[in-house]
């Protein structure tokens, strides 16, 4: 299922002119080296591609939850 969707979105993004910014790889928890390699390679690739052209077009992201009221904090050091 994942591969179907990702393959589709990859094709779609290509059509839209946003090629290469989505990558899928299966890495098991036992494949630390592979994980590191894939993440490093992808980071390099994205750095090379430069910032996304839609960056800045998207809304600014805030992390404030909806009905949050700041409460008085307690900070305690133990252990």
């Amino acid at each position: 299922m994942t591969i179907k969707r990702i393959t589709f979105v990859q094709e779609m993004l290509k059509f839209m002119g946003l090629e290469g910014r989505l990558h899928l790889e299966w890495i098991s928890s036992a494949e630390a080296q592979k994980f590191a390699r894939v993440v490093t390679d992808f980071t390099e690739k994205i750095t090379h591609l430069g910032p996304s052209p839609i960056a800045g077009q998207t809304r600014s992201i805030s992390m404030e939850p909806h009905e949050n009221k700041r409460r008085k904090h307690e900070y305690h050091k133990a252990g």
């Binding site: 591969i3 589709f8 779609m12 059509f15 839209m16 002119g17 894939v38 809304r59």
Partner: protein, 270 residues
């Protein structure tokens, strides 16, 4: 036998409880539900050159009365929509009687490539800045590089007034809760809507569903070449997954696990 007679017969024999077709009213050709109670309306039954999504009306009726037997005057695109709605459990074939009519009583294109009606003429400004409605998506890919494609689409999407017309008119949009109204996916209250996310979210949701009827592009007040986008989407679904929505009663590859088509993750440098 002409269509009026056929409808009359279907109603009288009790084959259908209601028949959805068109009628002429005050000079407009509009959809109408023919029943035994309004048989006199049959004299105004016409085959419209305008298209409305009668199958969507059928889903509305089914929602209210699940076992209602519905007849529908159907062109090829209506039939595709019906097939798709069957596979998604929105209508059941036992309750629907489509009455096939000739495609589009107008100067249509080649029927095998049925869009309907004569294609739109694209103005020179649009041809320069935006996307020509009549271009072939594959040629568009070949003639424009990544950056050009991106800026053209961003131009098209920036015109969007977020009327939701493309969704509302779509015969196969049946979700009760639309992702396009999910504040986590598409920020509410912004115009143009978060581009290109808004349109890509919709495109992704249409993958394996779009039956290429062209109603969305028709309804778009901003002349966004939506069909152009969804045609490419259908090309992907057909090339990669060997699936043509609405062609038969097979389930969409996006709703079933596994497939005859085996996919491999793509290498990073592809």
């Amino acid at each position: 036998m002409n269509i009026t007679k056929q409808v009359e017969q279907l109603l009288k024999q009790g084959d259908v409880d209601i028949f959805l077709a068109y009628r002429e009213l005050d000079g407009h050709l509009i959809p109408h539900g023919y029943t035994l109670d309004n048989l006199e309306d049959l004299e105004n039954l016409k085959v419209s050159q305008h298209r409305y999504s009668l199958e969507k009306v059928a889903t509305h009726l089914t929602e209210k009365k699940p076992n209602l037997k519905i007849g529908i005057v159907a062109r090829d695109c209506n039939q595709r929509a019906l097939n798709l709605l069957y596979t998604w459990n929105q209508l059941s074939p036992e309750n629907i009687t489509p009455l096939m009519v000739n495609c589009c009583p107008s100067q249509t294109r080649n029927h095998s490539d049925c869009t309907y009606l004569e294609p739109k003429k694209t103005g020179t400004f649009k041809q320069k800045k935006g996307i020509d409605f009549n271009e072939n998506p594959r040629e568009f890919m070949d003639n424009n590089d990544n950056g050009q494609r991106f800026s053209r689409w961003m131009y098209e999407f920036s015109k969007c007034i977020k009327c939701y017309g493309c969704r509302n008119i779509c015969p196969v949009c049946f979700c009760t809760d639309c992702s396009l109204e999910n504040p986590d996916l598409v920020e509410p209250g912004a115009l143009p809507p978060e581009i290109p996310i808004f349109h890509l979210v919709r495109a992704t949701h249409m993958a394996g569903r779009c039956i290429d009827c062209g109603l969305c592009e028709d309804a778009c007040p901003a002349e966004i070449p939506l069909r152009f986008l969804y045609r490419e989407m259908n090309r992907i679904v057909s090339d990669v997954f060997d699936y043509t929505p609405g062609a038969g009663l097979e389930k969409s590859p996006f709703t079933i696990i596994g497939n005859e088509v085996t996919l491999e993750p793509r290498p990073m440098d592809a």
